[in-house]
């Protein structure tokens, strides 16, 4: 399989008033051509910073201490700003949580898309206008001819996100990075936007990085999943590996902590005690140890490496060490997974 993007041992800190915030602490992952990789984790775990590093839009107080980012064989971090601009504009499309911040409030929608085409694709104006209208139709804006001449505030949240997607598509990207694109939207609008992204991906064979904290959205979108915690990837696998055979205690808690439509009323939810660590003082050992029911002595001293579970599945937990005591996932999570598999089987006939 062709790797379109590869990130290796990325370390990033921020110079902040209170000291150095160690936001990314050794992140490695790759993206295959045409697949969707979901990055899932709680807020503050480093999802956005990781993608900002890939697109080189980190704020000024960020420092990349170490790491390699390779895009189609090119070393992105070694490029000059000018060389990189070419890639960012033509090959990578970005969609953020808040569509308003990506749009110019005082410019008509049609013009915003047209300008992007003129600037990035060097299209003549007439052609750009026609293409902009086509893009608006492609992302499902009704009455596109009329809405071409309207301003962002005249669009609902869902329609604005469609416009942002249209602008991202204007440069014919091969890589689409979506950072919580539906978090601010209602579920029925979210489901329409997810369908749209999937449709576009299929049509254009895009490679997608999809960031979210919603496991339902991950299940819907992802081929593979990276689970992030406190600036590290703690588990990686196919979507089936992660949902049906999770190995890391943090993934266990994520999967078991939210009620789903099958959770019986009043059942105690599995909770992760405490709060995520303060990244000014990342703990020694495994950052998850203080919140982990299964933590062993070693966890407070030494960070676990990535252990291989299968060719597609890796997890950073000492529990996978050959000498570790055998610890199974919690019984009620196991039960939940069995039920889910049964239900999926029933549904798929």
């Amino acid at each position: 399989m062709e790797r379109i993007l590869e990130v290796k041992d990325l370390h990033i800190h921020f110079n902040a008033f209170a000291g150095a915030v160690k936001a990314i602490r050794g992140v490695s992952f790759h993206l295959n051509k045409g697949e969707t990789l979901a990055i899932v984790g709680e807020s503050g775990s480093g999802k956005s910073v990781t993608t900002k590093a890939v697109t080189r839009i980190l704020p000024d107080n960020a420092v990349i201490d170490n790491g390699e980012i390779t895009y189609k064989g090119m070393d992105l971090l070694a490029m000059t700003e000018k060389e990189f601009n070419n890639i960012r504009g033509n090959e990578i499309g970005l969609i953020f949580q808040d569509p308003l911040s990506a749009l110019d409030p005082v410019m008509k929608i049609g013009k915003q898309i047209t300008e992007t085409l003129i600037l990035k694709q060097k299209m003549p104006k007439k052609e750009a206008e026609a293409r902009a209208l086509e893009l608006m139709k492609a992302v499902g804006i009704p009455n596109a001819e009329q809405r071409f001449h309207e301003y962002p505030f005249q669009f609902s949240g869902g329609m604005r996100q469609r416009i942002v997607i249209a602008i991202a598509l204007a440069s014919n990207p091969q890589l689409l990075i979506c950072d919580e694109p539906t978090t601010a939207l209602d579920v029925t609008i979210q489901s329409q936007i997810l369908e749209l992204i999937k449709k576009i991906q299929k049509e254009r064979n895009l490679s997608v990085i999809f960031i979210t904290h919603d496991l339902g959205v991950v299940a819907n979108m992802a081929d593979r999943v990276d689970v992030m915690y406190a600036g590290k990837i703690v588990e990686e696998g196919t979507v089936e590996d992660i949902f049906y055979d999770p190995k890391h205690p943090y993934t266990w808690s994520l999967l078991a902590s939210m009620p789903n439509l099958d959770t019986k009323g009043g059942d105690e939810l599995m909770v992760i005690p405490g709060t995520p660590p303060n990244m000014l003082y990342p703990p020694k050992g495994d950052a998850f140890a203080p919140r982990n029911h299964y933590a062993m002595k070693i966890d407070f001293d030494r960070e676990p490496p990535m252990f291989k579970v299968s060719d597609t599945h890796y997890a950073a937990t000492w529990l996978l060490h050959p000498d570790a005591p055998k610890v199974e996932m919690p019984a009620h999570l196991k039960h939940r997974i069995e039920l889910q598999l049964k239900e999926a089987e029933k549904y798929n006939g």
Binding site: V187, M270, P276, Q340
Partner: protein, 311 residues
Amino acid sequence: MDNRTPILEVKHLCKHFYQGKSVMKAVDDVSFHVYKGETFGLVGESGCGKTTTGRTIIRLYGATSGEVWFNGNRIDGKLNKEETKAVTSKMQMIFQDPVASLNPRMTVEEIISEGAKINKIFATEEELKANVHKMLELVGLTAEHATRYPHEFSGGQRQRICIARALITKPDLVIADEPISALDVSIQAQVLNLMNKLRKELGLTILFIAHDLSVVKYFSERIAVMNRGRIVEMASSDLLYDNPVHPYTKSLLSAIPIPNPLLEKKRERFDYDPSIHQYDEQNQPKMIEIEPGHLVSMSDREYAAYLGAKK
């Protein structure tokens, strides 16, 4: 019907906002009741009127029309001092944003005791203080937190403070308006478990407002689904989930992503198009009880069609 006593009855409640010539019918003929000791969920997408409903019930907004009955007394409209006290101390609200709803210049103790002070619930300062400490422990904080300020707490802890503030007056009804929406995933489960524990231990009655149907279903015995200022369907949470009838409820249920990839990737989605109802003067929707305890907003024509299809 149920023969339990309702603690809250909302009858044909309307709350319209007027802006110049335009009218925003945020709440438009909403009726439901909440029984003592139950958790009643009000669910719908943003802007459908959930918060306005809650705020009108607790008298933060005056009702445009309709009635609100609480503990057998009518509480919309003008109330005397005594009646006002009965509402302000016995009905409490928890808000979505625990940051915005806590005064940054007040200590935790001042915040929690404020409502009890205003309503003169406790005879002495000592009794008040003891109760503040009791509340803090009840919600999983400690007495030492009493002298601190809100900014020293995480989002989840602040929501615990809000819950303590709501509970100190020993309310009969708590209106919780999206109490976990602003919190992180792992913290949401902690607060949900806390509310579950309190509900069991204190026998609280809760009107639980949320946009997330899976959370509402987990937490509520009965659920009302709201759309554009109206309730479109109301039933026990199991009935609503197993047999949704209104096309909006179906669309909402189908849109919730389920964290089960082999199922989720194949699921069918339904879009809701309000124009399919073709309501007109002769054919207006009303709440029809299609099976015991299951009410759906339907016109007579739609009900006839529903019965026909069932056969």
